[in-house]
Amino acid sequence: MLVLLRLAFASLKSRAVTTSLTVFSIALSVLLLVGVDRIRQGTQEGFSGTLSQTDLVVGARGGSLPLLLYSVFHIGTASNDISYASYEHFRDHPAVQWTIPFSMGDSHRGYRVVATDDNFYEHYRYHRDHSIAFTDGTRPEGIFEAAIGSEVAQRLGYHVGSKMVLSHGLETVSLLKHADKPFTVVGVLAHTATPVDRTIYITLYGDEAMHIDWQDGTPPAPGEEIPASKIRKEDLHIKDVSAFLVRTRSRVDTLLLQREINTYRNEPLTAIIPALTLQELWSMLGYADVALSLVSGAVLIVGLLAMLIALYTALNERRKEVAVLRAIGFHARQIFILFVMESALISAVGTALGLAAAYVLLWALRSSVEAQFGIPLAMVGISSRVSIYICVVVLAGALLGCVPAIRAYRNGLIDGLNAQ
């Protein structure tokens, strides 16, 4: 056996170029498999990390998915608003640690405007424990002040001091503009790789002030507008919010409070646990995951085929070698083992190299990937999926080695000792 192993090594070494090319192609396949696996897991983590440390999302009675979509991803609209009285009731609930109210409905050049309060800057968390930070300026305090997400700032070229006119409704080209009440950018938020980047944040008072002279969803008639300069915070009464986030004091509180909100008599409300709904949403997006896995699987097959071709083409030159080994007293089975051993060695070395390369790359790129795409690439050990890949690659390599091995075995018998 030891002799065979030494022969296998020497034989592979003598075909250094083919061997290293084959090892390289297998390493590349494994690198891709592991890379895709990491990115897949990172994407999922990044996605579920869109909102962290929030136990409940509360909105008007409706489906859990639409609620999550409009409150967290700013997709679609709320079916109804929640009265501010109900919001206050739960804000002051003994089981509640903090709440973040959101009021939506306006936009600016395609970007959503979300009215919220200081709790957002204080408590909002994403990707486990990241909080909202500013690259420039401060949180909006005044009625007509706004903070903008990093993408808004970049795309629209806004900076602290820029003025913007918000539009009523969500259309990019809106007919109804709050032209009389422009907002000033006072803060630019740091990049989060979440929907926060594409959002403009104003205060709840600002939202109320924009609509102070509106009646039943229609703008004031000409001459009846109340000029921005005459509006003071004290005059504004917040009437409703679109949704709010809740952090409870304990896990048990979460479930009890969810039940309490869902059965709240004064107003029909829905409370969802965002982690669960995010999970649900991700599983609907699962086909992308499948596609990625299929592509990496195909790459692996190509890599293994390259090895098969390399082993097979070497086979004809090796007929004489097989005859010599038979003459020295090697059994046909030992020659079979020699060939399988060579392919197993190639795939094992290729796999090890690919794994090493994958982890080095992950280590080198993870901070920039996370900053750029919001995909956290955890430097965890080998996941169960990856360890299955490794086993499959080495096993498939050894199995593929059987193909030329069977040929060599047959040739060995046919040629006998007399291959010339």
Binding site: V3, L7, A10, S11, K13, S14, R15, K320, E321, A323, V324, L325, R326, A327, I328, G329, F330, H331, A332, R333, L413, G416, L417, N418, A419, Q420
Partner: protein, 232 residues
């Protein structure tokens, strides 16, 4: 004792089309036999049976005291490796091993050949044989850098290391020029004598015959060929 004793041996891949039929073939230990015959006469098949690569379809095959017809393929392979040295016409060497490793290989694979070396170490034995065959200067060279004549001498070294009791040389001189043939044959016979090994030398070149004490024509002993010719 006999080195090779074949009785009523026949070999066929297909029924009714025997390639070899031998009534009796007896080669005594220590004999130097010249086996000749035109191509297609059954030389290759006969060698395959003696070496234990092929199994006789019928009859008894005794080689160096063992009945090959009743041994498993693996046991026949072991028997061949431990007791026989084999030299081909060309391409005798494993291309990815050095000359030294090629010569030493049978001793690595077979403990019995390792035990029979006369020097105290395997390296010493390889050096001794290499010196005897005048190839010591190539020992550390890669095989591919050797001329055909040099390769064939390395093949002798590998065949006789560990003193096998039977050396089979299958047309070993046909890729050499006349001068080298003489030289090769002289060396081969000498080292086989020194190792007290039986030598079966196969060739279609009858000019080499004179150096051997016994000549066997395969076409004469193979009755299958005769019947085949008639049937054709």
């Amino acid at each position: 004792m006999s080195a090779v004793h074949l009785q009523n041996v026949s070999f066929a891949y297909e029924r009714n089309a025997p390639l070899l039929q031998v009534g009796e073939l007896l080669i005594e230990e220590g004999e130097r036999v010249f086996l000749h015959g035109p191509s297609g006469s059954g030389k290759t098949t006969l060698l395959g049976i003696v070496a234990g690569v092929l199994r006789a379809t019928t009859g008894s095959v005794r080689v160096l005291g063992k009945d090959l017809s009743h041994m498993s393929p693996a046991a026949r392979d072991r028997h061949r490796g431990a007791e026989m040295g084999y030299i081909f016409q060309s391409f005798n060497l494993i291309p990815y091993l050095s000359v030294r490793e090629n010569i030493a290989l049978p001793c690595h694979v077979h403990a019995r050949r390792m035990k029979r070396i006369t020097a105290s170490t395997l390296d010493g034995e390889v050096a001794r044989i290499a010196e005897r065959l005048d190839i010591e200067e190539f020992l550390h060279r890669p095989v591919t850098k050797l001329s055909t004549g040099q390769q064939q001498r390395v093949a002798i070294a590998r065949a006789v290391i560990g003193a096998p009791r039977l050396v089979i040389a299958d047309e070993p001189t046909s890729s050499l020029d006349r001068d080298r043939q003489e030289n090769f044959l002289r060396l081969l016979i000498e080292v086989c004598n020194e190792a007290r090994a039986t030598l079966i030398f196969v060739s279609h070149d009858n000019s080499l015959m004179s150096r051997f004490e016994r000549h066997i024509s395969v076409s004469e002993i193979n009755r299958a060929n005769a019947t085949q010719v008639h049937s054709c």
